[in-house]
């Protein structure tokens, strides 16, 4: 079975731009704006072909990139409209500072992710004071009144259950990422079930990505998959080496 993810997994225009930049940075010190613009626009084309929502944000960034590229092509001796020039420089600086902020938060998010992962391995006791130590002595305090309770109820009941697809933009599931995640999990745990792995996924396409990842890893002999009958849990085991 072959499964190709044609569009790289990226989330929104800033993320796309960052990924393109990082790819170029590997071998050049200065990014070629021309290449960047071409690639960025080809992604927008691909998105249209895939019938994905190209939001105005994508177009705004594309516009800025094209204008900057056009400016580079002008001879330095050319006469420039000072206002236009200033506006363009402002746009550029705004884009650069957004990119920097984006990189910074991605970086620190990775640290927070690791810490959360570590925290999740330490379980607290949730049973509280049990009957043998006289729970009737516990004076329970409800920190809100009836009005507060109603407001809380409204907030919970109105939370969207299933996120709508068009809000998710380009958060396409990638089999590659699923493979990485599965391998990480099996480095942590000896055994798990497919249900446990996909329990947090909200979209069917993501579950499909994980299933394909599972088949791929089994094919590579990195894990063992078993299922007692067609209704029972799919058990995933780290393969013995």
């Amino acid at each position: 079975m072959t499964y190709e993810v044609k569009t790289a997994a990226f989330e929104g225009p800033l993320d796309l731009l960052l990924q393109l930049i990082t790819r170029h940075q590997v071998d050049v010190t200065a990014i070629s704006l021309g290449d960047l613009v071409t690639e960025y626009l080809s992604y927008l084309d691909e998105m249209r072909v895939l019938n994905l929502d190209v939001t105005s944000e994508f177009l705004l960034i594309a516009t800025t990139l094209i204008q900057l590229k056009a400016r580079q092509l002008l001879p330095t001796t050319a006469e420039l409209d000072l206002d236009e020039e200033l506006a363009l420089m402002e746009e550029r600086d705004r884009l650069l500072s957004r990119l920097l902020a984006c990189v910074t938060f991605k970086d620190v998010a990775a640290v927070i992710g690791l810490r959360l992962q570590d925290g999740a391995r330490h379980l607290p006791r949730t049973l509280g004071i049990t009957e043998e130590v006289g729970e009737q002595t516990v004076e329970v305090r409800v920190p809100i009144d009836a009005v507060g309770l109603a407001a809380l109820a409204i907030r919970i009941l109105r939370r969207p259950r299933e996120p709508e697809l068009d809000h998710l933009d380009l958060d396409l599931p990638s089999v590659e990422v699923a493979i990485e995640d599965l391998r990480r999990r099996l480095a942590d745990d000896i055994e798990t079930t497919f249900d446990a792995v996909v329990s947090d996924l909200e979209r069917r396409v993501e579950v499909v990505a994980y299933f394909l990842a599972l088949l791929e890893l089994a094919r590579w002999g990195l894990l063992e998959v078993s299922q007692e009958d067609w209704l029972s849990d799919i058990v995933i085991k780290r393969a013995e080496r």
């Binding site: 379980l123 607290p124 006791r125 949730t126 049973l127 509280g128 004071i129 049990t130 043998e132 130590v133 006289g134 729970e135 002595t137 516990v138 004076e139 329970v140 305090r141 409800v142 920190p143 809100i144 009144d145 009836a146 009005v147 507060g148 309770l149 109603a150 407001a151 809380l152 109820a153 409204i154 919970i156 009941l157 939370r159 259950r161």
Partner: protein
Amino acid sequence: METDAILEALLFVAERPVPVAEMAEVLEVPRQEVEAELAKLGASLVSRGIELRQAAGGWRLVTRAEAFPWVERFAASPSAARLSQAALECLAVVAYKQPVSRAQVSEIRGVDSEAALRTLERRGLIQEAKRLPIPGNPAVFATTDLFLEKVGVDSMADLPDLADHVPPASFLDSLEAGFGADGD
């Protein structure tokens, strides 16, 4: 990691007495070994604040009887008495959706709500109302008189109507200042 230490971790998170057979299965060792390790664990706890006790078909960790006076005083202190954010959310769901099952509450909140519901039940704010006539006979919960007393209304009819309820700014401020922000 030593086997007796693993057993301690299991018994620590257990919500009911754990049979030897179950521990043997989780650890993939024979029952006799589990029993020997339990004896070792029990001995190592001798001068500690918790002890190993055999109860209804299994083993559990409990606080030592000598610690009771302090545990009792602790029960009245803020961190023991205050409901968590998760428990409050469950309480709001039960109040407005009752009678409601455990699974329904979890479904509405989008996260597993078992522990929080148990806390509310233990604290006497909700109780099992009946059992549903569907496979598994799940229990459904309803709020109690104590709940009405604690939120300061005389009857369920006095709870604000959700349909035309707009949260006043004052509540949202108190939400921020008042119950802080925990949710386990």
